[in-house]
Amino acid sequence: MKSWRLPAPYLLLLPAFIVLAAVVVVPLLLSLYSSFTPFRLTRPDSIWTFIGLRNYERLFTDWEFWVAFGRTVLLLTVALNLEMVLGLGLAVLVEKATRGQRLLRTIMMFPMMFSPVLVGFQFKFMFNDNIGLINNALQGLGLTDQAIPWLIDGTLAFIAILTAEIWSSTAVFAIFILAGLMAMPKEPVEAARVDGCTPWQTFRFVTWPYLMPFAFIAMTIRSLDIARAYDIVKIMTDGGPAKRTEILWTLIARTGYSDARMGLANAMAYIAILLSIVFTAMFFRQLAKARAQIAAEW
């Protein structure tokens, strides 16, 4: 009797399915399931207690969670906008360089070559109120005689984190926008100059629409980056002091590992992922619109 065998196409795809299931699908489903349980790492059997949507219900009224959520959105918005403006400026300047442009491009990418953890340490040192470079410089220049509590005051700490974040990743915008500038045909810009545009109008009405798709790609990438921001914040302030710089993932990590409340942490994570999905969807729609506008062929 001929034994039944899986048809060849399925057989060939099977290893991929198994690997995918093992590393993605099963952990995903497990974490989703655990968000419906009061699972604590210290009491493994708690994973079998099904409590339905109680974790989610709790989070909807959890002030601390929504503050962290709001702070993440704020960090994302401010950082993206500043990075975009700075990246645009950098790209325009580098594009103007007629000599040594390759070198400048490489230098521009240096900050991206460092581990975010090290960037965090570096800025933690620079913003230190006693021995930090920033206070030292400010005092040396006579701009202040106080030791400004950069990493202690909530707003100042937020600015310090923002600075580190922007320093490390503005190059993403600069690279994408520079690519756009370099791919852009020169004639429409010349046509605009003849048509009576000032340099600013030329940029605003001709160059910028062309660069928009490139900026949106950078935005999508960076929004995902910042929405999962953890390392720099963890090193610089660890969400503190007194949760003044708590963002989503520092809160989730604390809930999951320090407090050992994995079920709740997973519920938080699923809500956080929604945030990323919303931003990504938004930028992709803008990107599609911008591409259609300039009739991009890619």
Partner: protein
């Protein structure tokens, strides 16, 4: 409307000069074509007039006003680019109205003027489309529309038809001519296509290596080329040109073949002088198949073997070898000829040109 004048205009890239101090006066409402092989500096000259390139030396005046240091927007010009240079994110109407919007004109006026230009160019149906949805010819029309809505003093065209196929090019050429008749403004038109230059321009400026070789009407540059270069550049197929030495009422070619010295050059060219003899294919024809020049012809006949023919229907180009090189002749009312067949060729020497072999300038006085 305005005159344009260039005085000792120079362009250098670093230490490399590409335009060597040219002088040119364009009259009000004149259609001037700058023509020459690629790299001759014609586009650079146009771009300097537009203000897109800095001027390294000399002076440009538009309407009497020195514009050397004015940005393009202050020169009251419009330009049509080879690649059309339309704004991809704007509709046809927005493309055409953009300069007026920038100039702060009221919306009503913009719409009227765009509609007017669209009507002139037959673009009414396309106003809401984007450039990517248009064919090459339509894009070219939009680029022209964008230029005419501004009502500028001077139109600059930078090889506007070279991205179109041959048929469309002929069609657009006629439209540009009509357009010039209608808008009646000064036009400076750069092209490498001598047919465009001949058919469109009031005067043609022939450039080579950053110098002007000749400025003249199409008739002038065709009938009375000032230099050997112009003689070879204008006319299709090109003029037959061959070096010869003047000897005792004869032109003797390198291989020993000779032609009588054309009547109009007798007593003007001394014996022993090295010259370049030029004769257009129109003035070299199998006997009985030529055009009558209208002047008193001075025909010299030579029997030659046919090397190759190119039948074009109404005429045939006949290639024969004479004095060691290939000569093209134009045969009207063609009859079939076979390669190798002997044919009597008429050289109408009354139409011949002589140029100095060294300087290349015409010996006609």
């Amino acid at each position: 409307m305005a005159t344009v004048s260039l005085h000792s205009l120079v362009k250098r890239y670093g230490n490399v000069p590409v335009v060597h101090g040219i002088d040119l006066a364009v009259a009000d409402r004149e259609f001037i074509a700058l023509v020459g092989p690629s790299g001759c500096g014609k586009s650079t000259t146009l771009r300097m007039i537009a203000g897109l390139e800095d001027i390294s030396g000399g002076e440009i005046r538009i309407g009497g006003r020195k514009v050397n240091d004015l940005p393009p927007r202050s020169r009251n010009i419009s330009m049509v680019f080879q690649s059309y240079a339309l704004y991809p994110h704007m509709t046809v109407a927005e493309n055409m109205g953009f300069s007026l919007k920038i100039a702060g004109k009221p919306q009503g006026e913009i719409e009227t003027r765009v509609a007017e230009a669209a009507k002139t160019l037959g673009l009414e149906e396309l106003l809401e489309r984007r450039p990517s949805q248009l064919s090459g010819g339509q894009r070219q029309r939009v680029a022209m529309g964008r230029a005419i809505v501004r009502n500028p003093e001077v139109f600059l065209f930078d090889e506007p038809l070279s991205n179109l196929d041959a048929k469309l090019r002929t069609q657009m050429r006629i439209e540009i001519k009509k357009l010039h008749a209608k808008v009646n403004s000064t036009v400076i038109y750069v092209t490498h296509d001598q047919v465009e230059a001949m058919t469109l321009a009031d005067r043609i400026v022939i450039m080579r290596d950053g110098h002007i070789e000749q400025v003249g009407t199409p008739e002038d540059v065709f009938r009375r080329p000032a230099t050997r270069f112009v003689a070879g550049f204008i006319g299709s197929p090109p003029m037959n040109l061959e070096e010869a030495t003047v000897e005792d009422g004869k032109l003797v070619f390198a291989g020993g073949e000779a032609l009588p010295l054309p009547r109009q050059f007798r007593d003007k060219v001394e014996a022993g002088r090295k010259v370049v003899f030029g004769l257009r294919p129109d003035d070299l024809y199998p006997t009985g198949h030529g055009i009558h020049s209208g002047e008193e012809a001075e025909v010299h006949e030579v029997e030659q073997a046919v090397m190759l023919t190119e039948p074009l229907g109404n005429e045939t180009l006949v290639f024969t070898e004479f004095a060691g090189r290939e000569w093209v002749s134009r045969m009207l009312n063609p009859k079939p000829l076979k390669p190798g067949e002997k044919v009597r060729l008429s050289f109408d020497l009354s139409q011949a040109h002589l140029f100095d072999a060294e300087t290349g300038t015409t010996l006609r006085t």
